[in-house]
């Protein structure tokens, strides 16, 4: 038995969230990591150096090059039977893949696990985080996605674990990769940033979002947004923080022109310090903000940026 962590990566480097998943995995048993991709041997070496990882499996094959769920799930269903737990991050990669793996293994899947109670019992948020369920699994293999912000990251400079190559398990080709259009940014990754500055509908337009970006840059932070700001095309979809977007828990979260709908709060209320800037003193965001400033963002945000630069 033991725990198998499915590494998230882009064939070149390991996604940081894998380090958080390994922490959750360590509490469940001996940890092996599977790196499946194309030309991803370097990623396997990175995974081998994660603290607490006992073994790395490398499966290098063009079928896995784009991280498609259909081929990866066949591999995982074959390899995963030998483990008590299969863990992946609760990212779009993990959420796309793990339910498919679970169905092939005829087991349930647990989404967005935030706490390991014991080897069969886990906590996870439901109803946009307005309730926390403690759930016990009766399945032989427990397949789950782990919320990265709920677990610390392991160190990346542990003793190198052995890397073993494994053969692919291939099936019928069901889908084909066409293209990827990734948002370019020099800022820190949203879910791992120490500072997040988010703008909402109140920012009023795409051009105005520069105000939010300047403040984020003055603080060395990432930029996020509410759904309303994404829907209105102020920013790309991958900026969305919330129940159905990204979950963040930075040291400081600054919500600007965001009302504080439950769906938004679900994505940021675990932040250490929350700041809200909103011109409506009754906006619900103030109910969760440690520091609230009732002000017009077009005056307050440039002033704050200037003070910090």
């Amino acid at each position: 038995m033991g725990v198998l962590v499915i590494a998230e990566h882009d064939n070149n480097s390991l996604a940081g969230v894998t380090c958080n998943v390994v922490t959750a995995a360590k509490s469940l048993g001996e940890v092996a990591v599977l790196v499946a991709g194309e030309g991803c041997a370097g990623v396997a070496d990175e995974a081998a150096a994660l603290e607490g990882v006992a073994k790395v499996f490398l499966c290098d094959n063009p079928a896995y090059g784009h991280g498609l769920a259909e081929p990866l799930s066949i591999l995982l269903a074959a390899v995963g039977k030998e483990y008590s737990h299969l863990l992946a991050p609760a990212t779009t990669f993990g959420k796309n893949l793990m339910p498919r793996v679970a169905a092939l293994l005829d087991v349930a899947q647990l989404s967005e696990v935030i706490e390991v109670v014991d080897e069969a019992t886990f906590k996870r948020p439901i109803y946009a985080g307005n309730a926390i369920a403690t759930v016990q699994s009766a399945d032989q293999v427990k397949v789950m996605t782990i919320r990265g912000t709920a677990f610390e990251a392991v160190a990346t400079d542990g003793p190198a674990a052995p890397v073993a190559e494994i053969a692919p398990v291939l099936g019928e080709t069901l889908s084909r990769f066409v293209s990827r259009n990734l948002t370019e940014s020099d800022r820190p990754e949203l879910t791992a940033a120490r500072v997040v500055v988010s703008g909402g509908r109140g920012v009023g337009g795409k051009e105005n979002f520069a105000l939010i970006e300047k403040l984020a840059d003055a603080l060395g932070g990432a930029v996020g947004a509410s759904r309303a700001a994404v829907d209105a095309n102020f920013v790309p979809n991958d900026y969305q923080v919330g129940q159905t977007g990204k979950i963040v828990a930075p040291e400081i979260y600054i919500a600007i022109g965001i009302s504080g709908a439950i769906q938004h709060l679900a994505g940021m209320k675990e932040s250490k310090v929350i700041v809200a800037i909103n011109k409506d003193e009754d906006a619900p965001i103030f109910e969760v903000a440690d520091y609230g400033l009732v002000a017009d963002l077009f005056e307050a945000v440039p002033e704050m940026t200037a003070m910090l630069e």
Binding site: A69, D106, A108, S111, L174, F177, I252, D290, A295
Partner: protein, 249 residues
């Protein structure tokens, strides 16, 4: 082309739920219920394909208690042709839902299944992927664009880094994300018309599928509450507090 659309009845997105005092679950009595918002988007997409002539039939399916008929009527009022309720009073977890849906698919033989990416009650985001696995079909999850051509679809997906486009042959499963479309409001005459559209009820127990729950909920609790802090007078005070009190900048 025939499309099957899965619609779940959930607590309305605008309702703030509370946890039962005995920790056994969420208080659902007398709450406003509605179609899962992502499923409205799924229905809208199917109706548009129907209206553009790309699809010739759109069937709504819901699994759950008898009251799910209301949700199905809403889907019919939005423009789908017919509805199927798989009735069950039991707790249906995603694997059971996927197994029942796979059986519905065997009976209905759709070319495309469109569902929501996530039900906003249990926040699982699993059922579409599970259904695709059980059927051995391709999956286009978290779709923000769907292009249907002869026997094939192209799905643009919202992923953590941006957007990704995949192509797959039909039949396939697509799960809708928020930006796929903006669902229409249902007009009164269409609600009247929907009452006359066919709605079949099948008992889940007659489907020959194992729907035993695999997960047991031991306890449901309130999350730690965050109490609101202070209001600051101006930007200078805010920066001062962040520096010297919270010490985060």
């Amino acid at each position: 082309m025939k499309i099957l659309v899965c619609v779940k009845r959930v607590v309305d997105a605008n309702v703030k739920i509370s946890v039962k005092a005995d920790g056994s679950g969420v208080e659902l009595a007398n709450l406003k219920m509605a179609m899962n918002p992502f499923d409205e988007i799924a229905v809208e997409e199917a109706v548009r394909l129907r209206e553009s002539g790309k699809a010739d039939e759109g069937v709504a399916v819901s699994l759950g208690i008898n009251a799910c008929q209301e949700t199905l009527r809403t889907a019919l009022a939005m423009g789908l042709d017919r509805a199927v309720l798989v009735e069950s009073d039991a707790e249906l977890q995603p694997l059971a839902v996927a197994k029942l849906l796979a059986e519905v698919v065997r009976r209905e033989e759709p070319d495309l299944v469109i569902m929501g990416k996530q039900a906003i009650d249990d926040d699982n985001n699993q059922t579409g992927q599970m259904l695709a696995a059980l059927l051995g079909w391709g999956q286009g999850t978290f779709a923000s664009q769907l292009v249907v051509s002869d026997g094939e679809i192209e799905v643009t997906r919202e992923i953590d880094g941006g957007l990704e486009t995949l192509a797959m042959q039909l039949p396939a499963v697509v799960t809708a994300d928020l930006r796929l479309n903006e669902p229409r409001y249902v007009k009164l005459p269409n609600i009247m018309k929907a009452k006359k559209k066919p709605l079949d009820v099948i008992a889940a127990a007659d489907m020959g599928v194992d729907i035993q729950p695999r997960l047991t909920t031991l306890k449901v609790e309130e999350p730690a509450v965050r109490s609101g802090g202070v209001k600051v007078a101006d930007v200078a005070e805010l920066v001062e507090k962040l520096r010297n009190e919270a010490r985060v900048i």
